[in-house]
Symmetry: C2
Subunit: 218 residues, 2 copies
DNA sequence: GCCGAACCGTAACGTACGGTACGCTGTTGT
DNA sequence: ACAACAGCGTACCGTACGTTACGGTTCGGC
């Protein structure tokens, strides 16, 4: 559901075995958070620590490889093109919204974001940049063409696609991600996700839809 | 700008010296992130580690004390009451929005949130809950009366104040907080904050304002 | 059947850091 | 004046973990 990639090397440079090791690391990361140890990863993956270090350099290397591996796994449904009527535009937006909510509320996304945020302060690695690139920015890159198409078709009105995207992003995500990252229980049922997607889409169309005369854009 | 508090003990139970120590810890936390050491705090605060442990128990105790200390420092401007016209309502909302944006883009808020997010996984302490309580939930507790007043005055239309608040939250914050937490450079100038506050308020009023017939609420 | 490479399991090393103990000094109360 | 104490500085201990080293095993190629 995520990831525009095209910048990281990913799956083909990794052997099957290496992918399995990274999967193990990923699972452990979800369970243990940032306090996973190299020993634990080795044990979980049934490999030796020496191999870990040979393949990934050091702990940070393993972490970034794991994050990129996860990023490369989640491929995007291409959203196809332009069925330029309002209904299909709304459907596309709703799909984006629910996909996005599903991602940010998933265990692995929460774990990955936690680790990346934790590492963002001390500039040893750039996990934060990786997560950002495959999360928020990938989403923008995928959604903007849809918004532009909507504008071309006369369905949407906005001056700046980036600004329109960010508004949509805010309407969809609201306080969900920060609450989840901070440990708030907040189980998003499939029904709730669907409802939120519809609501966010309606609100977005109310603000940027062309049919209604509205002075929403700054 | 932040914090409804009324749940944590805060300033009066702390001596001047202890507050100074916590200030030092806070400054160090901003600089070093979660890898500050007890030794470093002791040195920065010109106190002994023994004192640190006597006062705060252990490292987690020091961290939570620091977070609560910061929370207790930021007091809220009471927003006073009801000048029930649209202009003053908009002004209140704008003030909330800009205050909030200033908070979440401040170095100390970023550092605190990073630490809290990092700790949220492994349930040793409840930093996440503390931050959440003094951040997102405190904001809601302060803002909801304003929204309710707006509804009473016939200026706003919504069925659920919580839901209206979350929409406002999303419109104001958008992707700012997660980007900052993940290390994205994104300096918010005072002008940008003001502009965003106005935009968010306008969008919120477009969605929930009573004067315009609109089917925005889910 | 043998060689080397890749890899597993584990032991060992070094270090950083949380936590504790101790000696010294300045202050306070009597 | 002196005892009691709070607190500073520092040395110290134990441990957890990142990193390295090493012996044993499997496997593909000759």
């Amino acid at each position: 559901m995520l990831q525009a990639n095209a910048d990281i090397d990913n799956s083909q440079t990794l052997t099957e075995r290496q992918q399995a090791v990274l999967d193990a690391a990923l699972r452990l990361l979800v369970e243990e958070g940032d306090n996973l140890t190299m020993t634990a990863v080795a044990r979980r993956a049934s490999c030796s620590k020496e191999t870990l270090y040979k393949w990934f350099g050091d702990r940070d290397g393993l972490l970034t490889a794991t994050v990129q591996w996860q990023a490369s796994k989640v491929r995007v449904a291409p959203v196809d093109g332009k069925g330029l009527d309002l209904a299909s535009l709304a459907a596309s937006l709703e799909r984006f919204a629910s996909d996005w909510l599903r991602v940010i509320s998933s265990d692995t996304s929460i774990a990955l974001n936690r680790v990346a945020v934790g590492h963002a302060g001390s500039g040893k690695d750039n996990l934060g940049a990786v997560v950002l690139e495959n999360g928020r920015f990938a989403l923008a890159k995928r959604l903007k063409p849809v918004l532009e198409a909507g504008r071309q078709a006369g369905l949407l009105e906005f001056s700046d696609a980036e600004m329109a995207f960010r508004t949509f992003f805010g309407l969809v995500g609201r306080d969900v991600q920060i609450r989840l990252l901070l440990g708030d229980r907040l189980e998003l049922t499939e029904a709730a996700i669907g409802g939120d997607a519809i609501r966010a889409t309606q609100q977005f169309l109310a603000l940027f839809g062309a049919t209604n005369g509205r002075k929403a854009s700054s």
